[in-house]
């Protein structure tokens, strides 16, 4: 029989509901796994074994009364440290929030607790979610469970690594330009960015407000669907929250993809894509075709320009979102005789390099005389990206591409070249600009033995369809490879 930490969320919830295992056993097994692996992986900024234990006890007590259990009762969860939890240190990976203990919890935190999950820790991340490698964390890089010399991707690298390494069967990340899908791809797990507005952002420490979206990590598609159901829904505290009712994502999950029109994004097959990645992607296309998918190439010319637009829009919004970290109300404060000096020193000492770079870039892009040339133009490119997608979805139900052009790279390899680092998000960014959902699922190992991700994109609110396609693919290919840990 498998170890408890190897079980999927679905299995754990089922066995606890059946009375085969207790939630406390599950919590302890994962707490122990975290304790054992953390020195090597560093997936968490703040492990929360006591919270997991207390939540598990409550689940067991509830089961003892015979009351029905929520769908994820007793399932351990890694929560990206960018979501506020009342009374629990929340850093966003930044030194400036090192001692920050929020006075409130985000909406998804309440929803996840209601769904019965056990919070095992606040997961590591690139500072303020800015990065594609977790190297920008003020709390040290997270190591890829497949190869400890490599990055797990980012910015939700901690959550992805934790799920890959069996520290939790499910995790929560955030995706602004690929920050769930790219680490999912690099760590060999499933990760999904829902439609913008499908999951409340209330309590999510903002990076780029018009792009940020919370989403699930899991080791299989079914768990992903379960977790998405736990967090999706309208929230009156988030003006940009979608009021439409949430479907049951498990319903029709196994309906298959016979006759589904699938577009391969031509622009994702450039020579910049690693051969092993391109190879696994071609294999995946064959599998999809064998399942009855009608596959054809499609060109989205704006795809290649989305990156540049993103690297103006996201920094512009972040420059404003991060203005509040000034040493006045919370977080770090540097000594200085005047308020403005105090602000400037606090921010200089509290922010890391990448954050400063993007704050500078965004401030410049919004400043007098440059707004039209940069931010204004970028918003127009955003329109072009949306138009390209709209046109493609006239002909296709879903679009596919590799999630990331490469497999996990070595720690430090791209650290000094921001532009090279930004290219990681080439294929994931367009969905953020369009507000549309996309999922990354493992599609085998590349020539270097590292996982490759298949990205499936769809129009607004097509989560059910994406999960169905991903499930069909996963079922045909079999369970994803697990890291040697």
């Amino acid at each position: 029989m498998s170890e408890l930490w190897q079980l999927s969320a679905t299995e754990i919830a089922m066995r606890i509901a059946n009375g085969e295992i207790s939630a406390v056993e599950v919590a302890e097994a994962h707490n122990a796994r975290i304790e054992a692996l953390e020195p090597e992986i560093n997936a968490f900024i703040t492990p929360t074994p006591d919270i997991a234990r207390a939540q598990a006890k409550a689940i067991d007590e509830r089961r003892a009364t015979g009351a029905p259990l929520p769908p994820l009762a007793g399932v351990p969860l890694a929560l990206k440290d960018v979501i506020c939890v009342d009374g629990v240190r929340t850093t966003a990976g930044s030194r400036i929030l090192d001692a920050y203990v929020p006075p409130y919890s985000g909406t998804v935190v309440h929803m996840l607790a209601d769904a019965g999950t056990l919070l095992v820790g606040k997961a590591n991340m690139d500072e303020f979610a800015m990065g594609s490698s977790t190297e920008n964390s003020a709390y040290g890089v997270t190591k890829n469970p497949w190869d400890l010399a490599r990055v797990p991707g980012g910015s939700s690298g901690g959550s992805a690594a934790a799920v890959a390494a069996g520290m939790a069967p499910i995790g929560i990340g955030t995706d602004t330009g690929g920050s769930i899908r790219q680490p999912a791809s690099l760590c060999g797990v499933v990760g999904m960015k829902p439609t913008y507005g499908r999951v409340s952002r209330y309590g999510l420490i903002a990076f780029a407000s018009s792009l940020d979206q919370i989403g699930p990590f899991a080791r299989n598609v079914r768990d992903t669907a379960l977790l998405l159901n736990a967090i999706a829904g309208h929230d009156p505290k988030d003006s940009t929250s979608i009021p439409d009712p949430v479907p049951q994502y498990l319903d029709g999950l196994d309906a298959g993809i016979d006759g589904l029109r699938i577009g391969i994004v031509k622009e994702s097959l450039s020579e910049g894509t690693q051969p092993g990645v391109a190879g696994r992607f071609k294999d995946a296309i064959e599998t999809l075709t064998s399942l009855g998918g009608e596959v054809e190439e499609v060109s989205l010319p704006s795809f290649a320009h989305a990156l540049s637009a993103y690297y103006l829009i996201a920094p512009a919004e972040c420059s404003s979102n991060l203005a509040r970290y000034d040493g006045v109300r919370y977080g770090m404060r540097a000594d200085a005789p005047t308020v403005s000096e105090m602000n400037a020193r606090t921010r200089a000492q509290g922010f890391g390099d990448e954050v400063k770079r993007r704050v500078m870039l965004g401030t410049y892009a919004l400043s007098a005389g440059y707004y039209d040339a940069y931010y204004g133009k970028a918003q127009k490119v955003r329109t072009l990206v949306i138009r390209d997608f709209d046109e493609a979805y006239q002909k296709f139900d879903i679009l596919v591409s590799p999630t990331s052009p490469t497999t996990a790279f070595k720690i430090g390899e791209k650290a000094d070249d921001p532009l090279a680092m930004y290219l990681n998000d080439l294929f994931t960014i367009p969905s953020n600009l369009a507000g549309a959902p996309a999922i990354s699922i493992p599609c085998g190992l590349a020539e270097d033995g590292l996982p490759v991700g298949l990205q499936i994109m769809g129009p607004l609110l097509s989560e059910s369809l994406l999960l169905r396609a991903a499930f069909a693919y996963e079922s045909a290919r079999g369970p994803a490879e697990r890291p040697p840990l």
């Binding site: 320009h305 109300r329 200089a348 770079r357 870039l361 955003r382 532009l419």
Partner: protein, 98 residues
Amino acid sequence: MALTKEQVLHVAKLARLALSDDEIEKFQRQLSVILDHAEKVMALADDGVPATAHALPLSNVFREDVAEPCLPQDKALSTAPESEQGRFKVPRIMEDPT
């Protein structure tokens, strides 16, 4: 386009970042490269294309005008680096608000 050192200093001032000389020099270089790259691509977007600020076609989201409970004072101040008399304490404010 290449940014001048003065521009970088001006931006750092707007962004309230006390940057070192090394950082100023580094950002001058790096931002110039990024902006250069961006500019080439931005040329695509002509004047006929409308800007998109929100990807979703939603509008008119409001809350009703109903008062709700607040945080207790000690909780509101619990995160404060310094406080006094129930207020957030800050060093001398030299400039006037706008």
